[in-house]
Symmetry: C3
Subunit: 317 residues, 3 copies
């Protein structure tokens, strides 16, 4: 099977998953993103005309104001025209099929779709369906992938750690249901991180997760030892009520990141979280707001990474 | 009664209905729209500054993501500032009258209103109320009119058939409740189509529909014979549950467009549909996706037609 | 306590309340707004590039299409990129704290927040929290303040009456629950209006309201006598059903503004209302639409005032 994410010249055609992306593409995205961030990662992303006259459609079948906003801001900073469609309340409720909706938007001369969908594979389905001049970015599909989140995480790691080849990285939390974790694992291994760990209770781990090239830990004390990077995951509210977990308090006790547990990692370890955080459940406030947290820089880099991906896909060649 | 759609110079002031519009205005819109479509009707509608600095308000009292999106895209390609107001959830729920809401938006220096309303005549009411420098486009009012849909249909017919004076056109489906059908009939007769047919069960036809200048058929086999254009209508979900129809299956059997029925039309007949389609109810998928279907080009032309109307109304003279 | 609305140079840093703003700042806003209004207060606010490349976030924790629209239009006329967030349906529902939401938006390089919140003090809380390069405008917080409404009212009064120092101004209606009234009183007294009256039933007045420097009336006939300006307030629907009022009819009889009652004011008195109006409850239609009403000019000036505030806060110095 050829890679649906690359065109015949080996260039990025769609961004659907970090799985199967060659490291040269990942580095290209990270390098390009750095052009949209100033020296110290703080102020002044200037508006640039790279997507002037292009139409970007945020088609969100699953509501996510935060993710939609990051793409909207990135597209507007590239001077694109952005149209938001909350499809839950739209034509699909009138009996139209997903692909008919997509065909219609294509006929309006869309240049790019940002797709969020509760079903794994929705973005792939759309990408396979559209004409070659239209580009698809997966903004999260079911439990499958959330590649821009993983890429901004890679950007953040590289920003603080410079290299990937000498790192120990731990991903902590609900690996089983997390598209973020899956995308992080593929990106980390592709970029050459020698040791990727996952730390979770057995009920929140996919079976055969080791086959992804990770080391499995059920205990924070062991799993966090000597790591350079701690990637926390959000615990979805619905899991807290489900059978997979005894209680949020219990979860915090064993898997919540506290200063005490973080002390087991390297002294200069950084702490990341995709947001929105459940303070006091997966992460203690003293850690979230502490000196090792790079959670807010992640958000800043996220805009730059999305600008990079969008301009690679739809910018003039 | 003078025509509220034309100013004293006979130019388009508002677009409320295809009824009463002279053919020279219709042709002017179609000609102008062709400037926004490239040679083969595919890619590259460039962004143009015709409405730069103008404020276009989409005021939708009735939800329609698809129609709102087409106007939003058209306005943005003309460089207008677009504000979307979903009025159902807004001031009218606070007890404000429709005209107070409109007065307020006018006072914000609106240049154009795109109005969708469940009540027939709402766009007329607003057009009569506003100051002369403000323009109103009816994006669908009750059962009354949906003129931009009819105009894009005319554009599509002209694109494929070149002339109107030698055509047989059939409109099929729920004529009774359809503002699209009403607007199509007026546009077709004004443009000189010699034979306009409507095909529907008696329960879905307005009384005295012949007075609009159409031939009435209750049977697809007779009605489709030798036509050049088939305009399918969407069957609203609420009709399917109502007393007007026995069942969706029954409807499809008698009035659904299949390859077999379409074979009765001319060999080069084109098939159109305003969307969103109910596949398997008013139209079979093999027809919708078949070689005679021009349903997606309709959408493309729809953007161009809306750009044409908007720039005629509010562009610098 | 130093004023959180001013920076160390005494310039406007945030607009949170008219309380505590020096008169020179108020005049600066009004003067600057006049540059965005043409001679006769009617057409042609041209689009200007003062906020080009800046990101303005409308974060509305309380729904208000009208107020959100005025800020959106003002920001777009300044060429800003505008992102609307209806936070009720967003991350806070996912358990994220208000300040985490704000931190995230700051990390996306927001330049300005327009904040609407049901809780008094929300905008202050955000303003104290953000970095110095980010500016906050309070678009209404609980019963506390709605400063841009009061400023547009001041602009309107000055437009029609030229000076403040010789005026009698009456505010009529539900003073108790009104953030608009509170902001108007502070602005009027700061600008030197010698006599500010409030007219309301006892149940709709805050205790010790006289301490704000106003004269209290419970009777329209006395309160309106010889005033230059009548500021009507909107009666919230929820009050009409509550214990504070016998009925809407009763309210209209005693406190609704009719031509008859208005005749007690000066012959050239102007009538204002923040909208949306309840016709027949707090104001009679003949007054709302009459020659002394300046309710629609208020809306026009409101855009200009918001452009003025935004450009003072975030425009290039």
């Amino acid at each position: 099977m050829n890679n649906p994410q690359l065109n015949k010249h080996g260039e990025l055609q769609h961004l659907l998953s970090t799985e199967g992306l060659p490291s040269r593409i990942l580095y290209d995205i990270l390098d390009r993103a750095s052009a949209f961030v100033d020296g110290d990662g703080s102020r002044e992303i200037k508006k640039v005309p790279l997507l002037h006259g292009k139409s970007v459609f945020n088609i969100f079948f699953e509501n996510s104001t935060r993710t939609r906003t990051t793409f909207e801001i990135a597209a507007k900073r590239l001077s694109a025209d952005v149209v938001n469609l909350n499809i839950g309340s739209s034509s699909t409720s009138k009996g139209e099929t997903l692909l008919d909706t997509v065909d219609n938007l294509c006929a309006m001369h869309a240049d790019m779709f940002i797709v969020r969908h509760a079903q794994s594979g929705a973005a792939h389905l759309i990408a396979k369906h559209v004409a070659p001049e239209i580009h698809v970015i997966n903004a999260g599909d079911g439990r499958h992938a959330h590649p821009t989140q993983a890429l901004l995480d890679m950007y953040t790691i590289r920003h603080y750690k410079k290299e990937f080849h000498n790192l120990r990285v731990a991903i902590v939390g609900d690996i089983l249901h997390s598209r973020v974790a899956r995308s992080q694992i593929h990106a980390l291994t592709t970029l050459g991180v020698p040791e990727v760990r996952v730390i979770a209770p057995k009920t929140l781990l996919p079976s055969h997760v080791e086959q992804l090239g990770v080391r499995v830990f059920h205990d924070m004390a062991q799993g966090l030892r000597d790591v350079d990077v701690v990637l926390m995951l959000r615990l979805q509210n619905e899991r807290m009520q489900g059978a997979a977990l005894p209680s949020a308090q219990e979860y915090f006790k064993y898997y919540g990141l506290t200063q005490e547990k973080l002390a087991l990692a390297k002294a200069d370890a950084i702490v990341m979280h995709p947001g929105p955080m459940n303070r006091g459940i997966e992460i203690d406030s003293s850690v979230a707001d502490g000196g090792q947290s790079v959670i807010l820089p992640q958000v800043t880099f996220g805009i730059a990474v999305r600008m990079a991906v969008m301009s690679m896909l739809a910018g003039d060649k």
